[in-house]
């Protein structure tokens, strides 16, 4: 079974794995320069024009795998030499244009941007074109195409533009670290900084719990990941790696669901605060709506805080599908509770850096949260949980939810909210399409992932939110 969706992910994984391998052995410093050659050993190029460019790019990937440039605060970084400077022509007439007589393109263009040469072939005047796409729609030969860079296409909040060298450039003020561009760039030229070295250091220095305990907080979207092994194998693998124990971040989601329901009933209007990319989007693009953001910490933050309160010397590492969580963990309000954030992609690299044979391990158990905490991993789950939390706490409040699946839907809802025409009192915002299961740090993304999350939810030992959190008080 395939571990990754794309070869770009696989390449990134190989770098992470090799860096981790050296870090576990304490030989990273002396061998770091050799990592690119380990990955591209031959003299024939396999990906780019020559092996030297391939290795130069891999060198940049190694830097990011080691945490990247501390001066650059954004978790999401462009590897400029890896950027292929894809064409950005916008709407263009291709040679499929037959020079027909109908000229529908000309008729439909409100800006008069279409002209014809002596062979009746259409041309678009870029100074007049507003990229509306009407001409492309009416052409009987579909001869007009839209050329847009995959990164710009992925970034629905328009934080990506081009720099002077035509390489992708991220507007750090706008960027919400959702990672959509990381997953979509076909050249792997945009990537997220990794904190695997921090995680390895925390694990090594704990000496298997002798000096302090390291807790793994695992996001519920893990149920749709690591499809090639059983979840129980992954849990045991984490403990073999040096984690003291593994806890479901979904238990944090249960905690959040209860307090978010109370907050909603009290305030009357609320937006969710689970998705750090959504929260950042509101704060940067719709600052006027900041007052409606739930004051709850995210499930990660809430549970990490609880762990640190019960075991103050402990260290907490969150493992999930999300690049924005890496940024969230750096916020002053979250920093004291979360010591490192890893993605599933990085976890796979860590397992393999230790040559761990996951299927051979015995199956551990992971069961802390309720069905409702677990379904936070997919779009709509948070809203279901909030409604359930109202019921369980006997709160008489009618939720009128607006479930926003992906940042584009979030944008529309927030725009309406800012004009007071939303017609809903609760906005569930998830920056990734599908919810967390669509996160950029996932190994695989697929249609069945939602069903996997729901199945995992139904397997929870606790059926109600109240029961799941009752042990925490």
């Amino acid at each position: 079974m395939r571990k990754f969706d794309t070869k770009v992910q696989h390449l990134k994984y190989k770098v992470l794995r090799e860096v981790a391998r050296l870090a576990w052995n304490d030989t990273l410093l002396e061998n770091v320069m050799d990592v690119p050659k380990t990955i591209v050993p031959g003299n024939e190029p396999t990906m780019r024009c020559c092996v030297y460019k391939e290795r130069a790019i891999l060198g940049e990937r190694v830097k990011l795998a080691m945490g990247g440039d501390k001066e650059k605060s954004n978790i999401i970084q462009v590897i400029e030499i890896a950027c292929d400077e894809c064409p950005v022509g916008g709407y263009e007439v291709t040679n499929a244009c037959r020079g027909c007589l109908a000229h529908r393109c000309e008729d439909v263009c409100k800006r008069g941007a279409i002209t014809f040469d002596q062979n009746h072939v259409a041309h678009i005047d870029k100074t007049k074109c507003i990229e509306c796409g009407a001409c492309a729609k009416v052409c009987p030969f579909t001869a007009i195409v839209h050329r847009k860079r995959p990164c710009q296409n992925a970034c629905k909040i328009k934080a990506i533009s081009m720099n002077d060298h035509k390489a992708a450039k991220i507007d750090d003020e706008k960027c919400i670290q959702c990672g959509a561009c990381v997953y979509q760039c076909p050249f792997g030229a945009i990537t997220d900084k990794s904190f695997i070295l921090d995680a390895i250091k925390l694990l090594k220095e704990s000496e298997n719990g002798k000096n302090y305990k390291v807790y793994a907080l695992v996001a519920p979207s893990i149920s749709s990941q690591f499809a090639h092994v059983k979840l129980g194998n992954v849990i045991t693998g984490l403990k073999e790696m040096g984690f003291y124990t593994v806890i479901e971040a979904a238990l944090g989601a249960d905690m959040v669901a209860l307090s978010e329901a109370r907050e909603l009933a009290e305030k009357g209007v609320l937006t969710s605060s689970c998705c750090p990319a959504f929260v950042r989007y509101i704060k940067t693009a719709f600052p006027g709506l900041t007052k409606y953001i739930s004051h709850n910490m995210s499930p990660m933050g809430a549970l990490a805080k609880y762990v640190k309160e019960t075991d103050p010397d402990s260290k907490v590492i969150f493992i999930g599908p999300c690049t924005a969580k890496k940024a969230e963990a750096q916020l002053e309000s979250v920093k004291p509770y979360v010591d490192a954030v890893l993605t599933f992609e990085e976890l796979q690299a860590l397992f393999d850096s230790l040559d761990m044979d996951l299927p051979a391990l015995e199956e551990g158990v992971l069961d802390n949260a309720s069905y409702f905490g677990r379904i936070f991993a997919r779009s709509g789950g948070l809203t279901d949980a909030a409604a359930q939390a109202m019921k369980e706490q006997n709160i008489n409040f009618e939720i009128k939810p607006m479930v926003c699946d992906g940042i584009e839907e979030c944008r529309v809802a927030l725009l309406k909210m800012s004009k007071n025409v939303l017609g809903a009192n609760f906005v569930e915002g998830m920056a990734c399409v599908g919810g967390c299961i669509g996160g950029a740090g996932c190994l695989t993304h697929g249609e069945k992932n939602k069903a996997e999350v729901d199945k995992y939810g139904r397997e929870a030992y606790e059926k109600t939110i109240t029961d799941a959190v009752s042990v925490l008080k």
């Binding site: 849990i235 992971l366 802390n368 030992y461 009752s470 925490l472």
Partner: protein, 80 residues
């Protein structure tokens, strides 16, 4: 103050740590020991096979939802 800690990690959880917590909680209330017994939770005591794991001060006990009352009398009430 007597410190009772119940493991609420995954393994103990599916063996009934919630029921054990609830049992201890109601017995603390029943005997009016709210100011003498402190009930806390922890994730994993490293003895998953013996769950539900409970410690009373430093003493380790293996408890089930069925034996929680007996445990409370023997290990907690005796120390009050």
């Amino acid at each position: 103050m007597i410190k009772v800690t119940v493991c609420i990690g995954s393994s103990c959880h599916i063996k009934g740590s919630r029921q054990v917590v609830e049992g201890i909680r109601s017995m603390i209330a029943e005997h009016g020991l709210g100011d003498k017994v402190e009930l806390k939770g922890t994730f994993c005591m490293g003895k998953c096979q013996q769950g539900v794991c409970v410690t009373v001060d430093e003493t380790f006990c293996s408890v089930t939802p069925e034996t929680v009352e007996e445990f409370f009398k023997k290990e907690v009430l005796s120390r009050v």
